[in-house]
C-alpha cells in the first residue's frame, strides 16, 4: 500500500520510464497478497510434492533423500494394486451413470415447459449439501437391517443386500452416493449448453424428416460435442480423487474392496506416519491425472472456450 503515493498534478514525470516504474510498483502492491498466498499454498506445495516423494520425513531431523525407496514401499504394499483397480473401477462406474444420465436428463428438462425452476432446484439440491452430510445420510440408508435401501428391496420382494459390508457391493455403494451428490452439476451445465443450440438446426433437421433420435444424434450431440468432452475429462479427474466416500463409509474395507489411491495416500501419511510413501502415491496420481488435464487444456485451447 505504501507504493500508492498520491500523484500531484504538477509533478507529471517527463520520462516514460519513471511512469512505468510507478505503474509496476503499484501493480505489484496490488498483487503482493495473491503472490504470497499462491507461493505458500499452491506453488511451493507443488514443488514440495516432488521432493516429498523422494524424501524420508520424520519431523525430528531434516528430511533425507532416499531415492526411490518410497515408491518401492508403496508398490510392494498389498493394498497398492487394489487401490488403483478400485480407483479406476470407481471412476468408470461413476461415469456410466454420472456421465450419461445428466445429459439425458438435461435433454428432457430442456423440452419441458412446466416445473422447470422446481426441477432445476431439486436436481442441484444434493450438490449444495456438504458432502459429509450426504455420505453419512447414505451410510444410514445402507444399513443392512433398518436401512432405507433394504426396506425398499423388501417392499419389492427382492433379497436384501449387505451393501457396504460385502466385497461385491461395497464399491458400487460408494459410486451410488457419489453419483447422487454430483448429478446436478452435469445436468445444469448440459442444460445451459443445450439452450444455446440454434432452433434453426432442429427445424431444418425436422424438415429433412429426421425423427426424434436422429435429431439428438445429428444435431444435439454434435452441437454439444465440446462440452461433452470437457465434462468427460473433468469428471474423470474429479472421480479419481475419491476420498471422502471410503473415508466415511468403509475405511477402505471390506478386505481392501474400497481402498482408493487418495485414501491410501491419506492412510500412509496420517495412519502410518509415512509422508514419503503418501507423497509417492500422490505423485503417481498426479502423473495419471495430468494426462487428462493436459488433454483438457489442449481441447479448450484449440477451441478457445
Amino acid at each position: 500500500m505504501t507504493t500508492m503515493t498520491a500523484r500531484g498534478p504538477q509533478r507529471r514525470a517527463p520520462g516514460a520510464v519513471r511512469r512505468g516504474l510507478r505503474r509496476n510498483l503499484t501493480a505489484y502492491g496490488f498483487l503482493c497478497g495473491a503472490l504470497i498466498c499462491f507461493a505458500f499454498f499452491s506453488w511451493y506445495p507443488m514443488v514440495r510434492e516432488f521432493l516429498l516423494s523422494f524424501q524420508k520425513t520424520n519431523f525430528v531431523g531434516p528430511p533425507e533423500y532416499v531415492g526411490l525407496d518410497n515408491f518401492q514401499t508403496v508398490i510392494e504394499d498389498s493394498a497398492f494394486a487394489p487401490a488403483w483397480i478400485n480407483t479406476a473401477m470407481f471412476s468408470g462406474l461413476a461415469l456410466i451413470v454420472g456421465y450419461a444420465v445428466p445429459f439425458v436428463a438435461a435433454i428432457v428438462l430442456n423440452e419441458l415447459r412446466h416445473a422447470r425452476a422446481y426441477l432445476r432446484f431439486v436436481v442441484y439440491l444434493p450438490v449444495m449439501l456438504p458432502p459429509a452430510v450426504a455420505v453419512l445420510l447414505f451410510k444410514w440408508f445402507y444399513d443392512p437391517g433398518a436401512g432405507l435401501f433394504n426396506q425398499i428391496l423388501g417392499l419389492a420382494h427382492l433379497p436384501a443386500l449387505s451393501w457396504l459390508d460385502s466385497t461385491s457391493t461395497a464399491l458400487i455403494s460408494l459410486v451410488i452416493v457419489s453419483t447422487w451428490m454430483n448429478l446436478g452439476t452435469g445436468t445444469l451445465i448440459y442444460l445451459a449448453a443445450l439452450q444455446s443450440i440454434p432452433s434453426e438446426l432442429y427445424e431444418a433437421a425436422e424438415l429433412d424428416g429426421a425423427g426424434l433420435f436422429k435429431r439428438v444424434w445429428h444435431v444435439t450431440i454434435p452441437q454439444t460435442k465440446l462440452i461433452l468432452l470437457v465434462m468427460l475429462l473433468l469428471q474423470i479427474v474429479a472421480t479419481m480423487q475419491v476420498f471422502i466416500e471410503p473415508y466415511l463409509l468403509t475405511g477402505g474395507g471390506p478386505e481392501n474392496a474400497t481402498v482408493t489411491v487418495a485414501y491410501l495416500m491419506y492412510q500412509y501419511a496420517f495412519s502410518f506416519g509415512n509422508f514419503g510413501g503418501g507423497g509417492a502415491l500422490g505423485l503417481m496420481l498426479m502423473l495419471v491425472l495430468m494426462v487428462f488435464s493436459a488433454v483438457y487444456l489442449r481441447v479448450s485451447r484449440d477451441n478457445q472456450i
Binding site: 506445495p45 423440452e111 449439501l129 452430510v133 498426479m286
Partner: protein
C-alpha cells in the same frame, strides 16, 4: 432475447461453433405464428411446438412431465425427507420393519438433543468464521490481483497469470500432503497454522479460478472509463474502489457465493488442518462424532448442518448457477 425483432432474416447456417453465449436464435418471428404474448418463450428444442400441439404430442408431453417430476422428487427430495423425518422418530421407531412413512409422533426434542450433545453451536460458529473469513480474504486478495493483472498490466503479468492458472491443472488431492506440511511449518517464517483459522483463510484465497473469472470480467470494462478517472487524478486504488467494483457486482457476487459454499462444503482440508475438537468445522465435527451417536440424533445433526446450505441455495440460486456455467465454459 431483447433483440428479437431484428432477427427476421434467418442467416445461412454457420459452421459448427461451440455455444456462443447469448444465442440469437431464440426469438424468431416465423410466417404464420402470430406473436401471442411478448414474454412467452419462442424457444424450441428437439420437439417442435407444432408436434406438441397435437393431441398425441400433448399426451406424451404430460406423461413425460409427470414421470420426470415424480422421478426427480423421489430421487433427490425423498432422501432428504427421510433424513428430516428420521430425526423426528424415536430410536425404537427407527428400528421397526417396515418403517413408518410418517413419524408416529413428532418429537422435536431429538433436534435439541443433537444440538447439545454434538455441540453444534460451536461447530456452526467455527464454520461461519472460516467461511466468512475465507470470503473476505478471497475478495481482498483476488480482486486486487485481478485488477492489477487486468488494468495495470505490470511486467511479468502474463507469466504470473499463467502460473496462477496452472494451479487449476493440479488436482487438489495430490498436493494435499505437501500443503498440510506447509501449513504445519510455514517455510521461512516457521509458523504453525494448524488449528488456526488462517489455515483455511489463506489457502482459500489462493484460487486461480476466481482470479480468472474476475480478470475476465475486468478486461471487459472499457479502458476509457478508467482513463477518464486517471486524468482526473484518481489513484489506482480509488479507481478500483469507485469505478471497477460498482460495475463488477455480478461477478463479485458469483465469486463470493462460490468461495463461501466451497469452504462450507469442504471436508478433507479442515479434517487435516483443524484436528482439535473445539476447532472443527461442522462437517468434520459431525462425522468425527457420528459413530457414537444414536441414529436419530445423528440425522438431526445432519439436518441442522444442511439447513444453512439449503437456505443459501434458495436465496442465491441465480448466482450459484451462473458460477456453475461460468466454470464449465471456461476454465
Amino acid at each position: 432475447m431483447s433483440h428479437s425483432t431484428v432477427e427476421s432474416s434467418s442467416r445461412p447456417s454457420r459452421p459448427v461453433r461451440p455455444a456462443p453465449p447469448p444465442s440469437p436464435g431464440h426469438g424468431k418471428t416465423r410466417r404464420s405464428r402470430a406473436p401471442k404474448k411478448k414474454m412467452e418463450r419462442q424457444f424450441r428444442g428437439l420437439v417442435s411446438p407444432h408436434t406438441l400441439n397435437t393431441r398425441r404430442g400433448r399426451t406424451i408431453y404430460w406423461i413425460v412431465l409427470v414421470t420426470v417430476v415424480v422421478g426427480f422428487t423421489a430421487i433427490f427430495v425423498f432422501p432428504l425427507y427421510w433424513m428430516v423425518t428420521g430425526a423426528l422418530k424415536s430410536s425404537e421407531e427407527l428400528a421397526t420393519i417396515p418403517p413408518s412413512f410418517f413419524p408416529t409422533s413428532i418429537d422435536w426434542s431429538v433436534y435439541a438433543e443433537a444440538w447439545d450433545q454434538l455441540d453444534l453451536g460451536l461447530f456452526l460458529r467455527n464454520t461461519v468464521i472460516y467461511a466468512v473469513g475465507a470470503w473476505l480474504f478471497t475478495l481482498a486478495i483476488d480482486v486486487t490481483a485481478a485488477y492489477a493483472l487486468s488494468k495495470l498490466r505490470p511486467m511479468f503479468g502474463k507469466l504470473i497469470l499463467a502460473l496462477m492458472l496452472a494451479t487449476l491443472m493440479i488436482p487438489p488431492m495430490v498436493i494435499l500432503l505437501p500443503a498440510y506440511l506447509t501449513v504445519k511449518d510455514l517455510p521461512i517464517l516457521g509458523w504453525n497454522l494448524l488449528n488456526t483459522p488462517w489455515a483455511i483463510w489463506l489457502p482459500a484465497a489462493a484460487n486461480g479460478f476466481y482470479i480468472f473469472l474476475l480478470k475476465r470480467f475486468f478486461d471487459s470494462i472499457p479502458r476509457e472509463l478508467l482513463e477518464a478517472a486517471e486524468i482526473d487524478g484518481a489513484t489506482p486504488f480509488r479507481i478500483l474502489w469507485s469505478i471497477v467494483l460498482p460495475v463488477s457486482r455480478p461477478i463479485i457476487g458469483v465469486v463470493s457465493i462460490l468461495s463461501v459454499v466451497t469452504v462450507w462444503k469442504d471436508f478433507v482440508w479442515p479434517l487435516l488442518v483443524l484436528p482439535d475438537s473445539d476447532k472443527m468445522s461442522i462437517s468434520v465435527g459431525i462425522s468425527s462424532l457420528s459413530a457414537q451417536m444414536p441414529q436419530n440424533v445423528l440425522m438431526a445433526a445432519l439436518v441442522i448442518a444442511s439447513i444453512p446450505a439449503i437456505v443459501v441455495f434458495f436465496i442465491f440460486q441465480r448466482s450459484i448457477m451462473a458460477g456453475l456455467t461460468a466454470g464449465s465454459l471456461k476454465g
